[in-house]
Amino acid sequence: MNAMVIDRADRIWAAIADVPDPEIPAITLLDLGVVRDVRVTSDGAGEILITPTYTGCPATIAIHAMVRTALDDAGLGDVQIRSILSPPWTTDWISDEGRAKLRAYGIAPPERGDGRGSLKEEGPAVCPQCNSSNTVEISRFGSTPCKALWKCQDCSEPFDRFKCI
């Protein structure tokens, strides 16, 4: 790979680095792990591969629009955005930094790995306010497809929990 290609890819990554998730603006799209790759195509323009969190998530359209705007603002109007499904998004792709930001924002981050495929065994969430594990689920679906609603029995605060998928 020549230096120009690397430079181009870096510019694309930099252009979208601060684009927030439209539904949880405390984290970026890169934190969320939905930007799967940046490729410099043979014509030198490049493309971004984005995967949806949920098939019906209305934020998918907003995400594409925001990435488009960020690219255009950076003078990268010729970069294409491509939607991919495989491999399917997993909450394991949320970065450590993203997890810390979620917690600070009041959302319990998803467990890693073990929660997937064994949804029945999903343990109690840790309260983002007081760190207690004495918590109960109020509603399996919350304000967005990716979150469930939980409540802390110790500090009585309700909170969102990122669903593990």
């Binding site: 019906g56 399917p88 509603s139």
Partner: protein
């Protein structure tokens, strides 16, 4: 690929999309009307997942067909006889008991179907199924929890769940019926043999119903027809509302 083979592939993918579309639309009718706020959110999100899945299936069917129809055209500009969904998903919601029992019956079926479809020789179908199965597992769990809660609850809630089960049961056989036109697709490993899903489905439902202190209903004569376009009157009413805008203002966008 022969024309006939292509048509069979497109039809079977449209059926997958129509099941998700019609149930998603039905579930959406609960928005603002569910028994509690939490259930309102749950059902709306669940419906949204299904509409998302329908979009992926119908867009793909349109591409494969190559007649210039996309998912929107298939959803909004087909008449009732061209829909290929099963009869279960088009039934009116009834009360919450009936709705949530239907969800359990359908989501358990859909999860088993997508787990198999994720291994399809059609890589596009496989990746849609692999994506969607994660969502459907959540639907199944939500529905199972509520069926147990209702069945093993008060006399009133038990009876509602029981009535809901009795109402929905006649539509179960159709879920597992294999269309003769799909035979070639099964041989090619493109589509799933639904018949083979019945035994594991029976086990899953049996466990949930037992936890819910509900009995598996006695065998009934199954009602079929949705897969060949012979629908109940309910689907037409639903489509008249769902398709109104594109019928009144063809091609409208915003």
């Amino acid at each position: 690929m022969s024309d006939q083979h292509l048509q069979a592939r497109v039809a079977s993918i449209i059926a997958l999309g129509d099941d998700a579309l019609v149930l998603g639309q039905r579930i959406g009718e609960w928005c603002g009307h569910a028994p509690t706020l939490e259930l309102d959110l749950s059902l709306a999100n669940l419906g949204l997942d299904l509409i998302g899945q329908a979009t992926l299936f119908l867009n793909y069917a349109g591409e494969l067909e190559g007649q210039g129809r996309n998912g929107d055209a298939l959803a909004f500009r087909r008449d009732v006889y061209d829909f290929r969904n099963c009869l279960l998903v088009e039934q009116p919601n009834g009360d919450f008991g009936r709705t949530i029992v239907r969800q359990l019956l359908f989501s358990a079926y859909q999860r088993l179907l997508f787990e198999s479809l994720a291994k399809s020789a059609d890589s596009r179908l496989a990746e849609i199924a692999a994506k969607a199965v994660k969502e459907v597992s959540y639907h199944e769990r939500l529905a199972a929890d509520w069926v147990v809660r209702l069945g093993d609850g008060t006399e009133e809630s038990h009876n509602r769940a029981k009535d809901g089960l009795a109402w929905n049961w006649r539509f179960v056989d159709e879920l597992f019926a294999v269309d003769p036109a799909e035979a070639e697709l099964l041989t090619a490993g493109l589509m799933v043999d639904r018949n083979a899903l019945r035994a594991p489905w029976d086990r899953i439902i049996g466990t949930v119903l037992s936890d819910a202190t509900l009995q598996i209903p006695p065998p009934v004569r199954g009602v079929v027809g949705g897969r060949t376009g012979r629908h109940s009157e309910h689907l037409g009413h639903m489509l008249s509302e769902m398709q109104f805008l594109q019928r009144a203002y063809p091609g409208a966008s915003w």
